[in-house]
Symmetry: C2
Subunit: 264 residues, 2 copies
DNA sequence: GTACGGCGTTCGTATATACGAACAAAAACG
DNA sequence: CGTTTTTGTTCGTATATACGAACGCCGTAC
């Protein structure tokens, strides 16, 4: 994979991602200023993106919003894959057994990407909807996924000062992270205490098929419902869920396309 | 809105949409042949799309697949909007009350775009996942949404021979469609019998706020569970769900961005 | 009222991109 | 085992795109 980069293509993607980051809308001039690209250069690109419904121009507010097309084609990434439907069903069963929210996701670079969520009764807004990304070190199953790497690898991933804070409780030193990862490597469980969402505790573990860490799951529990005795129940539930998922994924390994290894 | 179209931007979108349509992957040469664009022209675009994870190249199979980025940014279209969370909760309650699947979506051109699905116990694979599009005339709530237009408008939308078949039961003539739409205009209910998915019947109705048809909902029921007496129950459930949704959406009308009117 | 700032739009030319041909490498064919 | 047909890749120039400046429009300022 050679290092190239096509200017116009990069711009098209930059525009879409910028608008995606601003749900309250952006004017053409806003986009121009943010990206440092002349309005006149942006104009034809933005027009085409609008015609194809990747952007949506609101005449009244004179602002561009995200169009439906990204959503339509983006969902082809996960829709139609029967495997993910089965995964969701397994998560849902565990959700109903515990009343707590379960997440399923993969590592994307040094972030975790949520692919599925099983959440029936929860009234809490969580930042982790499918499609969202969070720094791996800030989440329960993110730590589980990181545990496949050695201490030195982790240190090379996170040079000094690269651990950005998500909440007040987010880990701040690589040493602390590595110490926690040691626990994961020994026990199989990763813990998180309000490091990605205030007031939410998580237990995470890995999904391993053929010796390869393919994905992670985690159980998210509001702090006030998290007791020592329930923790034992949660861990057993995770063990069961993990086993079911690993069996299912092994049976449909050909459908597993989410193997975006960041270390090539 | 002037009629322009930027070639490179169109190509970038064409590439993504083409790969999205082929879950089994495409080689660079495949893309070149399908789009009628030289490989050498495609090359830098595809490289950049891969670097940005909009595409994913599988070295072993020498094929391009959809990358995660489309999914990530596409979901920003619906995530973080509290309104949709509330809509999902309402649908879920009706799903639990009936045991049948509920859909919520909007009109996108002459297609219906599914935004949410409430489906707990169903073991049937349905073609209608969120993000999917289907011809409006082939679905229950698609017909409901079309009922806001006059007979002559409908006729202009569908010139002779434009009613493509989704299943064997899909409507074939505009006259038949218009006759059914008259029933919708009178009774408020739209019916569909296996016209988009074999063996599934639907009842649909509109979601109207401030006199404007904003969205539609439908209840999908397997034929063998669809009886005359249950139909009465379904219709009452739809009336209740419709009322709840209209009240909720009216309270958060500022969040309603899905107003992509196809007739500007 | 005039003047200023914001917006999206248009135009001509300097500039970057696109294309056909030719490339090596690997797989498929006979 | 050579031959044919794949694959992705590189290069020089013909070509389409990008940019700065100027435009018209609308609302606000003064």
């Amino acid at each position: 994979m050679t290092e190239s980069s096509h200017r116009t293509t990069s711009r098209v993607l930059d525009i879409m991602e910028l608008v995606a980051k601003h749900p309250s809308g952006l004017s053409l001039a806003d986009i121009s200023r943010s990206l440092g690209i002349p309005k006149s250069s942006l104009h034809p690109l933005v027009m085409t993106l609008s015609e194809r419904k990747y952007l949506h121009y609101n005449n009244r507010e004179e602002r561009y919003y995200l169009g439906e097309s990204l959503f339509v084609y983006g969902n082809k990434y996960i829709n139609g894959i029967d495997l993910l439907e089965e995964i969701k069903a397994i998560l849902l069963a565990s959700n109903q057994a515990s009343g707590e929210t379960l997440y399923f996701g993969v590592l994307s670079g040094l972030d975790v990407l949520y692919l599925a969520k099983a959440d029936l009764h929860s009234k809490f807004r969580v930042v982790s909807d499918p499609g969202n990304k969070l720094p791996a070190y800030s989440t329960g199953y993110g730590k589980a996924l990181l545990s496949q790497f050695s201490r030195s690898q982790i240190e090379s991933f996170y040079p000094a000062g690269t651990l950005a804070s998500v909440t007040a409780n987010t880990l701040k030193s690589v040493g602390e992270l590595n110490d926690q990862l040691d626990v994961v490597r020994r026990t199989g469980f990763a813990y998180e205490k309000g490091e990605s969402t205030d007031g939410i505790q998580c237990i995470g573990t890995t999904i391993v098929v053929d010796g390869e860490v393919l994905a992670g799951i985690s159980l998210a529990v509001p702090q006030f419902r998290y007791t020592q005795e329930r923790e034992q129940f949660f861990k057993q539930l995770l063990i069961d869920t993990k086993a079911k998922l690993e069996r299912t994924i092994a049976n449909h390994k050909d459908q597993w396309i989410y193997s975006g290894r960041q270390t090539e």
